[in-house]
Symmetry: C2
Subunit: 518 residues, 2 copies
């Protein structure tokens, strides 16, 4: 059945820099590709130039160029939406069901994943903001910003104007949050109730922004999904950009005195030069960019440098998923394993510890198949627990911990993978085919979505559709298990993860990615 599409009747919106016009579809006003800042390459963002007349904002804007060509794969697990790339990518999208200045609806700001080097505001089908706005009565904002060498390459040794080039991508996000403060009232949003939410790299950006004094007061709550890093996933590198940038200059036959030519070079050539030299620089252990750099602007990962005072006042909802990087299909069909086969598979991994691991896993996840322990995540779950406990120690704001453990009807029961929770929090399971599990997914979507909405409204995710969910204390991190049956578990996996850490080799992201591509 046809929905109602309106354009001519939709009022023009006056933003600080000029007038814009979006459209309305099925009750939701939609604005796409609003420029929130402009920036010269490697330099800090500035406000956009004011314009005359009305700009139509109905097309998504450029996304940040990546370092290499992407190869579509595993689209069933994570359906993508690619888009034209250009470094003039400081733009955002808004979904709202009211244009009343007094409406004061909670504002949800999505920070996309892809580390600090990839992804975009619209990279996944699940990132569409329509359904969250429509079902949650909130204003949804999704943001593009500079990534990789455009957003995170330190050129500070080469000139004052590059002082913060190592954090330019985060500075873009701060500019976006300032734009929201100045303009979101016109879109029915409450500038005093802004919740950041992000997954993977997007979760890291939430903590990143908590550790930037300039962003204080620009947002009020944070949801971190599979995005707490303790330095194992993306190790913090030491040093400044002298070595990598010098190597790029040499590769390009540009003398250091002409460093500014890097600003004008076509991005393709810049990226090629970086790609050619970065491995050899990395092998020396030197900084190669692609992550924020600790300086007077950005104060570092809380798990390494501690929470800033203001950061500790931000209520948090933090979690991870059961399988995370276990993308690769299993070599067996777990539904058909005999007891003996199950035993052998587990034994091949855990040897003499098999009995102990089996017992601890069955205690932690009684409803899971014993072989699922092979796919269990540690890389996000462990630091997530650490982070919320550290936050709780400050006793300034609550933190809530969850784990998404749903099994999907794929490859004989696939455990939840990195990104598989995103359609649920966005209320977008209808946009992601594999998220459709009749009799299960609608209910779970409602439970997760409502928790996020309640958290955005009040700082507390509890709602009638869930069992009581206690905040974290310095001693203990009660975990809401999001699954066919939602329930809170206490101290259920500490011992299990401890023994896995002792037995298993350290996590190797590169190897995982290679596995995944087979």
């Amino acid at each position: 059945m046809a929905k109602i599409f309106c354009y001519d009747e939709v009022p023009v919106i006056q933003t600080k820099a000029g007038k814009i016009k979006g459209y309305k579809y099925d009750g939701v006003y939609i604005f796409k590709g609003i420029a929130y800042a402009k920036a010269k390459r490697f330099q800090m963002p500035e406000p956009v130039d004011a314009w005359e007349g009305v700009k139509e904002t109905a097309s998504y804007g450029f996304v940040c160029p990546l370092l290499t060509q992407e190869t579509p794969s595993a689209e069933l697990l994570v359906p993508h939406r690619y888009w034209p790339q250009d470094e003039n990518c400081q733009n955002l999208n808004i979904w709202t069901n009211s244009l009343e200045k007094g409406a004061k609806k909670p504002v949800m700001v999505w920070l996309h994943g892809g580390g600090y080097t990839a992804g975009s505001a619209i990279e996944q089908e699940a990132y569409d903001g329509f359904s969250m706005c429509d079902n949650g009565d909130v204003v949804v904002v999704t943001v593009n910003h500079r990534l990789n060498i455009l957003g995170f390459l330190d050129l500070s040794p080469f000139g004052e104007k590059y002082r913060n080039s190592g954090n330019a991508g985060l500075a873009d996000l701060v500019a976006a949050l300032k734009w929201i403060q100045e303009n979101i009232t016109e879109f029915g949003g409450d500038p005093d109730n802004v919740t950041l939410f992000g997954q993977s790299g997007g979760g890291m950006k939430v903590t990143g922004l908590m550790q930037i004094p300039e962003a204080d007061g620009l947002f009020h709550k944070g949801i971190i999904m599979s995005g707490v890093s303790d330095g194992k996933l993306l190790p913090m590198l030491s040093g400044d950009g002298r070595e990598i940038v010098t190597a790029m200059l040499n590769q390009l036959s540009i003398p250091e005195s002409e460093i500014e030519r890097l600003e004008m070079l076509p991005y393709y050539e810049l990226a090629q030069a970086y790609n050619k030299v970065c491995m050899s620089v990395a092998q020396k252990g030197a900084y190669i960019g692609g992550m924020p750099i600790v300086n007077d602007y950005y104060k570092g990962e809380p798990l390494i440098t501690g929470f800033r005072n203001h950061a500790a006042t931000i209520p948090l909802m933090v979690g991870s998923v059961f399988g995370e990087f276990a993308f690769a299909p299993a070599s067996f069909n777990k539904q058909e394993l005999t007891k003996t086969q199950t035993e052998e598979i587990i034994k091949s991994q855990f040897g003499e510890h098999t009995e102990k691991v089996r017992e601890l896993f069955a205690k932690a996840y009684p409803e899971k198949h014993p072989v699922d322990v092979l796919a269990l995540d540690r890389i996000f779950r462990l630091p997530s627990k650490e982070l919320v406990k550290l936050h709780a120690k400050e006793k300034k704001a609550p933190a809530y911990l969850y784990e998404f453990t749903l099994e999907f009807p794929y490859q004989n029961g696939k455990v939840a993978w990195h990104c598989s929770d995103i359609p649920f929090i966005f209320h977008n399971t209808h946009r992601v085919e594999i998220s459709n599990i009749p009799g299960i997914s609608d209910e779970l979507e409602k439970q997760i979505f409502e928790a996020a909405m309640q958290f955005a409204r009040t700082g507390n995710p509890n709602h009638d559709g869930l069992p009581q969910w206690q905040p974290v204390t310095p001693e203990e991190a009660p975990t809401m298990i999001f699954d066919r049956k939602c329930e809170v578990r206490h101290n259920f996996d500490d011992e299990l993860l401890k023994i896995l850490e002792e037995i298993l080799p350290p996590f190797n992201l590169a190897a995982m990615i290679q596995d995944m591509q087979h």
Copy 2:
């Protein structure tokens, strides 16, 4: 409400080259990114190498690289779906509701638009094949192939292996049609009932394939939407590729004796070299590629070189839309014009002919606003009429002519633009926001969609939901008007278009595109 997603239960399909596995969603089996050929750059496609084991075909494959970076704009009019680009792009997608070999369902093969230089099988949201398969009980196939300098650059003067490089993109399509002949039975399709349908460049590809002897018997019907060229839109250029390729070699400092280096050059560098030299070569009137070249493989546009005997046996459904390239917003709101203002606007364009033009336009389109004559298409409507009459003269197969004249609720009533009919033929108006007109679009979608389905089933688009639609005769081209009220009109615009041709300056695509970007 959650739909049913299946994977493990979906049978593996044996294609000639190897086993593949797709998935099933809401009753439709979906296969994405099946490789139907491989090719060396500038050379003819070859069958893909056979493989062991089962390949998952659940991710769209690469689309052909374009010559320049795209800039998203006017997404409300034509919502896009961009995708990673690579010249290894010989892949196709299939939607079917049966995997029974005896099902013998009509096969619909979509050839995308974008001239011969741009676009992809999934470029527009409206190209998704799910809904056509689901509602029409047909097998839908959408195809990627080589474009621009990869698909249409004649290097024949430089070596025998490049003999047909000027038509490599069409040769890819022939390879896709051969793949369909050999494999579509496994997907429930009838290899003896294959209908090509395409819009704009995709329509040109339909006639292109009709004029290739090697494609005879690989398809049986054709639907050409806004895609009949008489050489005004994309003029046929004379000569071979010696001049343009020599200019590229000079630009790249590659001696002619090392022509093969062009095969290995990164595509970005090849495209840059072409972009730098093509204007000056074009200004001399020499061939610059980007279109098929007439040779022993491809016999030329029917309106210029005549229909081949076999081509005339292909039943056709041909049409265009009211406004086509009238993308630019009007400078006035036609709903609010006084009689005098209306008169002045028309007069500013037609001067002394105003009265005559008004009268003829009112006769041809009695339900339209008088100023709509300023947006009326000639560039596709005139050659479409010519083509179907020429086809009718052969008296070997029927042809049916239509015009899509719907006005949309945008910019105070926008006349149908190029591509605005695509969501209707695909039964995808729910995927394209602007196509939603309550009380109107569902019914019209049904009428257009059913006409296409009936044509695919029987070669005759008539169905109960439409008035009687007569085929074209050598003398007359009855036109089905697809609009709020569908009706057949006879000889209604011949005189009008004749006078417009006399008065108005020749159509200028470049100027139109420039207009559009304002």
